[in-house]
Every structure is written in structure tokens, then in C-alpha cells.
Subunit: 219 residues, 2 copies
DNA sequence: TTAAACTGTTAGACTAGTCTAAGAAAGTTA
DNA sequence: TAACTTTCTTAGACTAGTCTAACAGTTTAA
């Protein structure tokens, strides 16, 4: 079954909301907000997706992806992250530019294209933001990770990803000299506002809690 | 001005018709046929394109691209042929598979993507079918070429392109051992039906006039 | 336990892109 | 030139995706 550009975006958003907000139930309003449409619009589309058995959904009830819907969503996510990797690795895009273009490229329909792209890139397991790339079977490597804000004083850790994918945040983080695989030493943490003093290479930086909560690390 | 997927296809088709049928005037019916829509549909779209100053067109008159329309058309063609080259050169696609996927990729909006792709491919002047790729300024290398059917008996020539881009034709031609840059010797031509006996490498082939008329060569 | 606030649904309208059916204009031919 | 054929245009209808405005159901909290 070939889905429209729009249907794919709804499924992808539902999937992303469900993994981000773990246990939380997804409602019309949240979905609409994520997609940048009005609740009425999302409601209309949900009826259509239900009709096509892509979501499970009853009036006033919570929204869940069907098996097929979930599979489709993962396929789109796979394409999105492969394209992001391509743009970053092969076409000299910076990590804050890739998302917008991948939003378009993720909708190109061609089995062969996806598989050849994956091969061309050497079957990457993570995209340039540290997010896992689903393989052909829809499986993703789950990497244990914490936010930098959870790391205690005096501890070393390594950056492995970001929670906030906005280009504003990515640009800021990049400018600080942070990025995937960068080693970080937590020097001190302010009691009052959780401001963090960290050491990155030979630089010492002060970052807000808003920032440290959006950086993923492993110890 | 950002155009829709559909508007881009209308402009591209108008441009392609105008270079293929050289002097011939383009009408609603032809345009509709090329795009696979009904004449009424094409007529509706022409009114919209005229409104946006992308085509010059008066009721019952002939259709011409405006400067802006032509520029847009060439941009799409540039993207189409760069993507075809990418798929062929980097992703192991065969020359009969690339067109369909490029039809989708040609609509991705990103200046940087096009320019980086061009750079990544080494600024190619021709696509895998031998068609010229417009450069950033919209200029194309014009290569003098004849159809194989115009080559006299006993003459050597080199294949540089195809007129028919259908995958059926491309597959057939490929199976015969023909392709871009292949050397061809015209051994003999039948008076009756213009069937051609040609030598390609150590092979001798017999091809119909329909076939030889769709192969471009240089002497 | 009822009022207020929030969340979700419906009705009706709009645009882009398409169609069919009908008719008008232009071109061709007897 | 009149009749026929072809090409082009219009009118009206449909789908996908969106909106606003109004209303209905659910949750919260006094
Ligand atoms: Mn992304
Ligand atoms: Mn998308
Ligand atoms: Mn092509
Ligand atoms: Mn196209």
C-alpha cells in the first residue's frame, strides 16, 4: 500500500510521540501540535488512517499505531536518518542543516534506493544526531544513555546524542565545541539553578540546565 | 517563488516538448498527453501558470514559457539529470531504472543539495543517457549528434545518447551490448526496410530502423 | 457534585488538482 | 464555402488536505 506524503508524516509523528513520551497517551491535540495543523484537521486524518487500518482509534479514545502503521512509520524514520547521514557524510552538510532536507527526502518511494543508500553509507547504526537508524527489518540498536544533567560532579562521560533536534540548539551546541563522541568532564554543578561547569578538551564551559537536559551521554 | 510538484512538472514538460519538437507549436492536447492528464486539466493549469507569469498564453493561442518559467524548468531538468547520474554512478542503478526515481528526486527543494550533489559527482556535463546537464547558470553543452539511422554504410561512429528514454528501449539496447561510448561500425543497410547490420566489439547485430532512429551517435 | 477548563468532534467552507460532458473555435477537405 | 474533424475551453463535480466556528465529552477542582 502506497501512502501519501501526508499520511506518512502523521504515522511518523505518532511513532515519534510514542517513543518520546514513553507511557503517555497520545491525543488529537498533541498530534496536531507536532504536525503544525489544527486539531480538527488531525481528527479528520485519524478517521482516514483508521479506515485504512493504520491506527487503532475510537472516538474520544487514545490513538495507537497498528502493526502496519508502525512498520510504515519505521520505514520513514529509516529513510529520514539514512538521508541525514548521507547529507552529513557525503555532501558536507552541517548537522543543523540536514533535518529539513531529510524531511523531504524521507518520502521518496523506492525500495532499491533505500537499500543501496544504506550500503553506500556502510550500514550506519546511528545518524549524525546520535539517533538509531532502523535496519531493513525495522530493528534499532538501543543504546543506554543519560542526559548530561544526570551526571554527577567529577564524572567523565562521552556525548552520544541530542534530545532537541532544532537547528537553533544544534548550532549552539556545535559552537560550544560539543558534538557526537566528544569527551566531557563534569567539573561542578550549581545547587541553585543546576548550571554546569564542564571541561571539553582544553576548554571550560558553563551551560544551563536547559542545555544539559538536551544532551545525551554515556559514562 | 516556490512552485508545487505539479507546477514544476508542467513547466518541465513544456520545456522538453519545445526542445524535442523544435519549431512545432505546443498545444493543450500535446501537453496533456505528455503529462498523462486530460486536456481540460492542462487547460486549467495553464490558466494558473499564466496568472503566475510562468507561461505566455492566450485563449486558443500557442503556449510559450516565460523567462522565469523557462529558468524553473531548466532547474528541474538539472536536478533530474544530476540525480540520474548519482543513482547510476554511486548507487549501482542501471540506466533503465534511474529515470523513475529521478522523477521524484527532481522536486526536492534545496539549493545547497543541488550544488553539493553536483560537486560530489564532479560537475558532470552529461547524464547516463547522454543528455546534457544544465550547469548552475542553466547552460548546457550542445553536442553535435546524429541518429544511427543517418550514418552511411561502412562508417564508424560512437554512441553518445538515446532519443527514446523508456525503460523498455533502454533495457533492449543494453541487452544488445550497446551503451554510451560504445563504438559502432555500420556494415550494411537494407534498402527495403532500413534494417541495419552493425558491428559492436566482436559482435554483429541486426537492428530495426525504429531502433537505429532512437540511438544518437557521433562520427 | 457541579462549574469551569480542557480536549475532541462535527459541520461547512476553501484550494489544488483532477475528471467527464458539452460545446465553441479552428483547421481541413470535398 | 459548407461540412466534417480536431483542438481547445468551460461548467460542474469529485478527492485530499486544510481551516474556522460551534458544539460535545471528559477532566479538574472548588
Ligand atoms: Mn531529523
Ligand atoms: Mn516528513
Ligand atoms: Mn530521465
Ligand atoms: Mn517530475
Amino acid at each position: 500500500m502506497v501512502l501519501t506524503f501526508t499520511e506518512e508524516n502523521y504515522l511518523k509523528s505518532l511513532f515519534k510521540i510514542s517513543i518520546e513520551n514513553e507511557n503517555q497517551e497520545v491525543g488529537t491535540t498533541t498530534l496536531a501540535a507536532v504536525l503544525g495543523v489544527k486539531a480538527a484537521t488531525a481528527n479528520d486524518m485519524l478517521k482516514k488512517l483508521k479506515e485504512k487500518d493504520l491506527v487503532l482509534y475510537e472516538k474520544y479514545g487514545k490513538i495507537t499505531l497498528s502493526i502496519v502503521g508502525r512498520t510504515k512509520a519505521i520505514e520513514v524514520l529509516r529513510k529520514h536518518r539514512l538521508w541525514e547521514t548521507f547529507l552529513y557524510e557525503k555532501l558536507e552538510f552541517s548537522w543543523d542543516e540536514i533535518h529539513a532536507v531529510a524531511e523531504q527526502l524521507e518520502h521518496i518511494q523506492s525500495e532499491k534506493l533505500v537499500e543501496q543508500l544504506d550500503k553506500f553509507l556502510g550500514y550506519p547504526a546511528f545518524d549524525p544526531h546520535g539517533d538509531p537508524i532502523p535496519n531493513q527489518n525495522g530493528e534499532m540498536k538501543v543504546q543506554f544513555k543519560e542526559t548530561l544533567s544526570q551526571i554527577p560532579m567529577g564524572t567523565n562521560c562521552k556525548m552520544v546524542g541530542v534530545k532537541d533536534n532544532s537547528s537553533a540548539f544544534l548550532q549552539y551546541v556545535g559552537k560550544l565545541g560539543l558534538g557526537i563522541n566528544v569527551d566531557i568532564l563534569v567539573v561542578s554543578i550549581q545547587d541553585y539553578d543546576a548550571m554546569m561547569l564542564i571541561e571539553v578538551g582544553d576548554q571550560t564551559l558553563t551551560i544551563s540546565s536547559k542545555c544539559s537536559e538536551n544532551i545525551y551521554v554515556v559514562q
